[in-house]
């Protein structure tokens, strides 16, 4: 049905430009993005991350178990709750949970560690490392301490870094579309690839 040649051609083009675009997007940013409240954007990004990441089946005890986004401290001022209110992802209702200790991490699908979580963050990241938990943080050493996605702010715009090695360790499959938009950082060196 589809013109195969054309399709392949566009795929190659799109893949090539996608790779290039990913690098450019992460390094070159403009101030065109409308200034929104930082955490409102981050809340939307968190929710969208869930849509571009695939969790292994063992991440959920049952097919209709809730999808938990876990927080230590809550910098969102209710924005996250508002966004995820009543949302269902692949049959899993979204819930926002506050956790107190590192042990609770294993039952989460996503953990957000705010800058205010400070020294507890590496501990929780370490705890989550063996589980299919997407760790998202914003501290400078978040990636080097084993985190998967780190928010960065470049030119007033919120972008993110991704550590694919950490994602692989957590048995999470990150969409190539997501990776294309991110700055890829390896945890060992924390440098640009």
């Amino acid at each position: 049905m589809l013109p195969a040649v054309n399709w392949t051609r566009y795929r190659v083009w799109l893949a090539a430009s996608g790779l290039l675009g990913g690098l450019i997007a992460a390094s070159v940013l403009y101030a065109e993005q409308p200034q929104q409240a930082e955490y409102q954007v981050k809340a939307a990004f968190l929710y969208n991350f869930a849509k571009f990441v695939e969790w292994p089946p063992r991440a959920f005890p049952t097919p209709s178990a809730p999808f938990s986004i876990c927080l230590m401290s809550d910098p969102f001022d209710g924005a996250l709750d508002k966004i995820t209110q009543g949302e269902v992802l692949d049959g899993h209702p979204l819930v926002i949970r506050r956790i107190r200790s590192a042990e609770d991490v294993s039952s989460c699908q996503m953990v957000y560690l705010a800058a205010s979580d400070g020294t507890r963050a590496p501990e929780i990241v370490k705890q989550a490392d063996a589980h299919p938990v997407l760790t998202v943080g914003e501290s400078d050493n978040f990636i080097s301490s084993g985190g998967i996605i780190r928010f960065v702010q470049i030119g007033g715009r919120i972008r993110f870094q991704i550590n694919p090695d950490a994602a692989a360790r957590a048995s999470l499959r990150l969409s190539s579309k997501l990776l294309r938009l991110a700055e890829i950082v390896r945890s060992s060196a924390g440098e640009l690839q």
Binding site: W7, I24, F45, L178
Partner: protein, 487 residues
């Protein structure tokens, strides 16, 4: 079509061939180009739809994470697609990223509905994330390049069409001869025949098709005309010959009548002359006797003429009867010679008789054969000089008895020889001729001899060298039962 009707056959064939080729090519080209146009439109729609769907999928993350540059990069990758004029990405209903090609107008702030115009197709594809529409991709494609290609195609087709028609023309100009040449040849020949009236012309047959049949029919018609001509010619010749014969006969009759009246009057003149002298009673006995002799001779001459006429009349009407019986050569030759002797003596002509076997039996009509010999002798005397000699010979040759009468007289002109035995003919038919007679003698001779189953022939060395006539009478086997008479 009316103008076509006036053309010659070769031109008709060429024109028809060219028209048919051009029409076929034109139709085929139009169909191809039409199909190309429809296919191009469909391909453009299908291709653009696919492209929009791919772009929509590719920009999902960019829209989700508000990364306009990533979306622009994706759109920029479409620049190699010549048919695209506008590619717009909308987040919700707001313009998120837009790219225009080749100087087209910028993307409108909100998505346009999908639509199609003569040369623009606007195709929209939704951007979906986990079953939710988060925006749309709107691509505007133009048929411009397609039109360009179609124009090129039409130009190429036109050139091909022109070349094909030229080729068809060249081909037809050569190949038409297969059909037209025999027709033209036939037409030229027919024209030539009607002009020159020469019906001996034939056309070579080269084809086995209907044209061949036409040529055969033409040749057959010509043959029939020739046959009729020949027939007509033959009949005309025959009629002319018959006509000439009739004219000749008529002339002969006229001459005969003149001769006859002359011949009949001559003895009468002499007779009346001597009778008027006798009436005076002044003639002495000698003179009177001489007068009576002359009157007697002239009367006999006239009598002979009348008898000859009667004989000819009987011959013509088939009433002349021949009654042969057995007799001897001497019995028929001697009386004839005796009868003629006074006439011979009058010219002091000696008659030498030489009959080899006078008692030889001959089967003949006694009086008629005597008449034959007498006639031949009269002729001989008539054409002999004074004091000359006439020979009468008789001998048996094979199963026939031959009687020959020879003289040393005027002989026979070779030109006249073939007509010697015809009726009313004499070598000299002028009114100033030296010799009398009606020219019936030899005709009667021939008829009588032939009635006996025999033949008569004449021989002369030429004019002035004498002549000899030979009568040959067959001698039949003498059967025992025959009493002498035969019927």
């Amino acid at each position: 079509m009316i103008t076509l009707r006036g053309l010659s056959i070769p031109k008709k064939i060429v024109v028809i061939t060219v028209i048919v080729s051009a029409a076929a090519l034109l139709l085929a080209s139009a169909a191809l180009i039409g199909y190309d146009y429809i296919a191009a439109r469909r391909d453009l729609r299908v291709g653009t739809t696919t492209l929009a769907q791919i772009v929509a999928d590719e920009v999902t993350a960019a829209v989700s994470f508000n990364d306009r540059n990533a979306a622009l990069d994706t759109l920029n990758a479409l620049r190699s697609e010549p048919s695209l004029v506008q590619a717009c990405v909308y987040s919700e209903m707001r313009l998120f990223a837009g790219h225009t090609f080749a100087g087209a107008t910028a993307c409108p702030p909100s998505p346009l509905p999908a639509s199609r115009t003569a040369d623009l197709s606007i195709i929209a594809a939704p951007i979906q994330l986990k079953g939710k529409n988060i925006g749309s991709v709107v691509l505007t494609a133009t048929l411009g390049p397609t039109y360009g290609r179609l124009r090129l195609e039409i130009a190429i087709t036109t050139v091909i069409l022109a070349l094909s028609v030229a080729f068809a023309f060249g081909l037809a100009a050569r190949l038409h001869k297969i059909v037209s040449e025999p027709i033209l040849k036939l037409a030229r020949t027919a024209d030539q025949v009607s002009r020159s009236k020469d019906y001996s012309v034939q056309v070579n047959r080269q084809n086995t098709d209907e044209l061949g049949i036409l040529v055969d029919s033409f040749n057959e018609m010509m043959r029939q005309i020739r046959a009729r001509d020949a027939d007509l010619q033959a009949r005309t010749t025959a009629l002319e010959a018959a006509n000439q014969e009739l004219r000749k006969t008529a002339k002969m009759k006229d001459e005969f009548l003149a001769t006859l009246s002359h011949e009949l009057r001559t003895p009468l003149t002499s007779i009346f002359g001597w009778i008027s002298l006798l009436k005076t009673g002044k003639l002495d006995d000698d003179k009177a006797r001489q007068a009576l002799n002359v009157i007697d001779r002239n009367a006999r001459t006239q009598m002979q003429l009348v008898e000859d006429l009667l004989d000819v009349s009987e011959i013509v009407t088939g009433k002349l009867k021949i009654t042969p019986r057995w007799t001897t050569a001497k019995a028929i030759i001697d009386p004839a010679v005796d009868t003629i002797r006074p006439a011979a003596e009058a010219k002091q002509i000696r008659i030498v008789q030489q009959i080899a076997n006078p008692e030889e039996p001959v089967f003949a009509d006694h009086e008629r054969i005597q008449q034959v010999i007498w006639n031949l002798l009269i002729n001989a005397i008539k054409f002999s000089e004074m004091q000359s000699e006439i020979r009468v010979e008789g001998d048996r040759v094979g199963s026939a008895y031959q009687i020959r009468v020879s003289d040393n007289g005027e002989g026979i002109d070779p030109d006249f020889a073939p007509h010697l035995f015809e009726r009313f003919t004499q070598a000299d038919s002028s009114s100033t001729r030296r010799h009398g007679g009606l020219g019936l003698g030899l005709a009667i001779v021939r008829h009588i001899v032939e009635s006996h189953g025999g033949s008569v022939s004449a021989f002369s060395k030429g004019k002035g060298l004498g002549a000899s006539f030979t009568v040959s009478l067959p001698i039949p086997e003498r059967s025992s039962s025959s009493g002498g008479d035969a019927t």
